[in-house]
Assembly symmetry: C2
Amino acid sequence: MPEIRVETDSAHYSVHLGSGLLQPQAGASSLVGLPAKASRVIVVTSPEVERFWGESLRRALGNGIPVNLLHVPAGEQHKRLSTVERLCEELAALGADRDTLLIALGGGVIGDITGFVAAIYMRGIRFLQVPTTLLAQVDSSVGGKTGVNLAAGKNLVGSFHQPVAVIADLDTLRTLPVRELRAGLQESVKSAIIRDAALFDFMEANLDAVLAGDSAALERVVESSIRVKAAVVAADEREGGLRMILNFGHTVGHAIEAATEYKHLLHGEAIGWGMLAAIHLGESRGVLPAADANRMRELIRRTTDLPNFAATTERLVALTGSDKKKRSGTLSFILPIGIGQVEIVNDVTEAELSAAVAAMLAEVQAISRASGVEEPAHAG
Amino acid sequence: MPEIRVETDSAHYSVHLGSGLLQPQAGASSLVGLPAKASRVIVVTSPEVERFWGESLRRALGNGIPVNLLHVPAGEQHKRLSTVERLCEELAALGADRDTLLIALGGGVIGDITGFVAAIYMRGIRFLQVPTTLLAQVDSSVGGKTGVNLAAGKNLVGSFHQPVAVIADLDTLRTLPVRELRAGLQESVKSAIIRDAALFDFMEANLDAVLAGDSAALERVVESSIRVKAAVVAADEREGGLRMILNFGHTVGHAIEAATEYKHLLHGEAIGWGMLAAIHLGESRGVLPAADANRMRELIRRTTDLPNFAATTERLVALTGSDKKKRSGTLSFILPIGIGQVEIVNDVTEAELSAAVAAMLAEVQAISRASGVEEPAHAG
């Protein structure tokens, strides 16, 4: 079973990856990764995930320790400070103290909320990530970014707070809708493009096997993706520099999500489109060879059907400007320069960005025509 | 002008203490302690404090940098996540980014809220403390504890987030009601008892001068108090051990505040009572010499008139049990063993605590009788 170490300035921990990790162990009551000294365990999950995995986790935790369970309804709209406050009040009512361990059982929303609750309850308690979606396993559960949304934008409040461990059980992905699995794989494509040419080659050669449910192939992809994330986060925990490369495809991707009100595309699908825009920008600048650009585009398109959506170039560019990754008036942009290589640039002009977004939107419209879908009358 | 360094694991900064610090400097536009690279400054304050010091601060900041001002109404009831969320939305609306500097201009509530906003907005931006009450200058502005209350209890959510600097202008204390000044001095008495016998001697000899507004005497007390706080925080930023000594008097003090719904006593007054209970406990155990105990009691009583209040021993002891400083079922208690010396013990029994609280309440009742105040019919 792969164990991937994450060594940051503030914490050292392992990501345990494999199958059967949430199965009750014969005799013993210890879940892998569970810290020895926890006075009490409180699991935060959604009703849906609880139905599939709640009982497994309870049994894996054994009887040696008091366990309570708190619910957060599924959906991005619950990722708000009001949910955080309610959970904190419930923790206090349960008598949670500084030795209580929180467990986030679910996807990225559950992990982000639970991690933030752990970051601020009594100024910080420990938490364990048990991600049950591919997106959460390869990306959001590792690296300690926690937080919630404001009305003004996604993830605008939060903390860096590392989990004590991450338990990524591949079995949980079997209960995941195929569209979600595919969308999550776009984060693995991202990891491959920014930092791991071997993963890129493997995905090119084995994507069909991964999508068909081949466990070994899937494990290879998940493991490599987590290793990319772990290495980047170890080098730059608080996103002072290198960690920004994890935002490859996200500047335009976030703008698409905002323009479509987070309803029409899954996060990974929006990132797919965002990567296509960034690839166009790299090619236009002449820093990304056409052959590499074509391989990237091909892999992104094979990974998911990218849904079409309605937005104007102007609106999307405006939304990137309000993106929180803007520093002091300069928009940092992650530019691909080859398979496995990106660079962080601060000199992307609005004209360049507009051209890249327009090229991407042309492709969106081509899909709409091909699929016979009428364009919505009013563009986001 | 004294400059006190605070050197913690996560940050190094100065507390600038003196008079005239908020006066506009001739020509220059630089406030002492202001970091060089701030794209924008947003001041959080209350309408009352703004009236006295808002314009001074604006002028001290000069014209070189955009300055906005946000309001938090005075009062502990506003120290909630809803206020934090509103401030964060206002920051986003103003376009605040990671290079924005927040300034907390006000007392402890303003500092705690603003520091927490700074801790979580975009996962952490810089903030400067400009404390305008004695309590905030000698205690809450230094050390990085930020946070807000839950319905379930005070300061139950928060972060450790150090300011970039603290500017403690003694002039601001001249606009402070005398009762608040006196209550704030109880935190200095606390500092003296836990760690600084020379400060204790000085306060014994010069309390009248301090209360009469003697600047040099007041500066000496404030400086020594801050040095105690800085040294303790440097040794134990996240309250894993030593920092707990700052809670001397606070276990019972917090229970009194909770029992009286934070309305009847100022924080420092409740801490005064709490220290009296802790002193009784130390004496009963035989670890605190009677002569030292008497000197402590005398200084506490001279520093403020301690208002009477209504509560039963049972209620107060129960409230200490729910105090957040409880760790794994053991209540840590800070026991005075001499002037300038305390120890952290974990073996205080409920019987001992009850006896100490009962002794303190007997004194409360003696005051009530002496002042001719009738005891409230129903005890909190």
